[in-house]
Symmetry: D2
Subunit: 134 residues, 4 copies
Amino acid sequence: MTGELLLPLRIYIEDTDAGRIVYHANYLKYFERARTEFMRAHGFGKGYIFSADMMFVVHSLSTEFLKPACLDDEVIATARIIKLGSASITFEQQLRRGEELLCRGEVCIACVDKQRMRAQRIPVEVMKTLSASI
Amino acid sequence: MTGELLLPLRIYIEDTDAGRIVYHANYLKYFERARTEFMRAHGFGKGYIFSADMMFVVHSLSTEFLKPACLDDEVIATARIIKLGSASITFEQQLRRGEELLCRGEVCIACVDKQRMRAQRIPVEVMKTLSASI
Amino acid sequence: MTGELLLPLRIYIEDTDAGRIVYHANYLKYFERARTEFMRAHGFGKGYIFSADMMFVVHSLSTEFLKPACLDDEVIATARIIKLGSASITFEQQLRRGEELLCRGEVCIACVDKQRMRAQRIPVEVMKTLSASI
Amino acid sequence: MTGELLLPLRIYIEDTDAGRIVYHANYLKYFERARTEFMRAHGFGKGYIFSADMMFVVHSLSTEFLKPACLDDEVIATARIIKLGSASITFEQQLRRGEELLCRGEVCIACVDKQRMRAQRIPVEVMKTLSASI
């Protein structure tokens, strides 16, 4: 698989708010769906996201909301890795409607041990596969 | 504690949809918050809802949406038990805005064992306390 | 189009709760996505759901939760009309995982005028098309 | 009112995910509730957030997730203005559990005209009141 995952999505009523546009926090859900599909496309499904001893959690993020997505829009959520640390993965993510960029963000995911929620090294097989995707 | 729990809530932008009213599925969230506070008021907090071996899950529900709740509304979610079975609890629930009834529902909660998700008897101490609330 | 719409969905982390299963209110979101696609498949997209003078809103519903949907599950949400009144539409809806029925519900949608939120007749062209789908 | 608004919140099951902690996007909901209460405390309720011609929308944000919030936690969401531009307001926001800082973020809100979603000057009376809060 090449570097960028593209996930087509439809905007439903549940996604909107009284401003008649998508509620801002919901963009983060689209980004997470795209990261999940990115990991799955690289062979790391549910088993890796919630394995026995480790877990991937969102560590930090930044987002710019450029144009609003609206009810019924067909959009594309994207995910690609821009930085791979020993215990963290940084994704660049976008929400696009055709040629228009609606929202972009960077999301840093940390690998933590499940008991104490402390940073731990990303498993070797994940590192190997993901570093080949950059 | 008497039979009915009253939980005051404020409607925020996250709760609304592009129809400018509260998104219908969100009423179920308010109902669950009220049930959680009902259980807590009777001495059964987090420990009981997710104990080592059993879990309470929603088994079935019915709801009528009478009038819409809107942004900024101050509403009251209510919970009271109307039926107590050996493995299930049925709540009558309302969402009110002042004197107006906006939504009413009945929600049946089942006690299940966590591994197989099969019905199991409600623990004796829960039965004792809850039956006194009816 | 025949009577039943089938919408394939993936369960993401956003859909789950601390019980490790899909949060009960989220099934209603899947049902609404399926109804929206049902209406779109019959030619009634966004324009009809939020037209200038009328709006479709959920009037009442009942649901049974038979088996839990879990993270990463691939499921099918369905929608088909079982009753068509002059001002309301009743859908039978299911969530299935392969052959398993996870959840079923009946959802009654009312046609209301936007200003006063009072029941009004469903537009003739909608009636004609939908009645052919039953 | 002094500069920082504190909004007490309870974490409910709807807020959590299968990782048994609060789903990351939900922190943004808590932040928005705190900003809404901040605006209301300064005299700007629903009328100002969705007035006839202008609307406040989230323009950009950054967040760090330091420690997870969990089911049943009692937390405090905070909002205070750290920068006031002619068409934007930047809030510093926190989620705290007692003395612990769980999450902090900066959220930049833009004032836009409702029709074209273009930046416009914040109304004078809002500017006057908010600048006194810094």
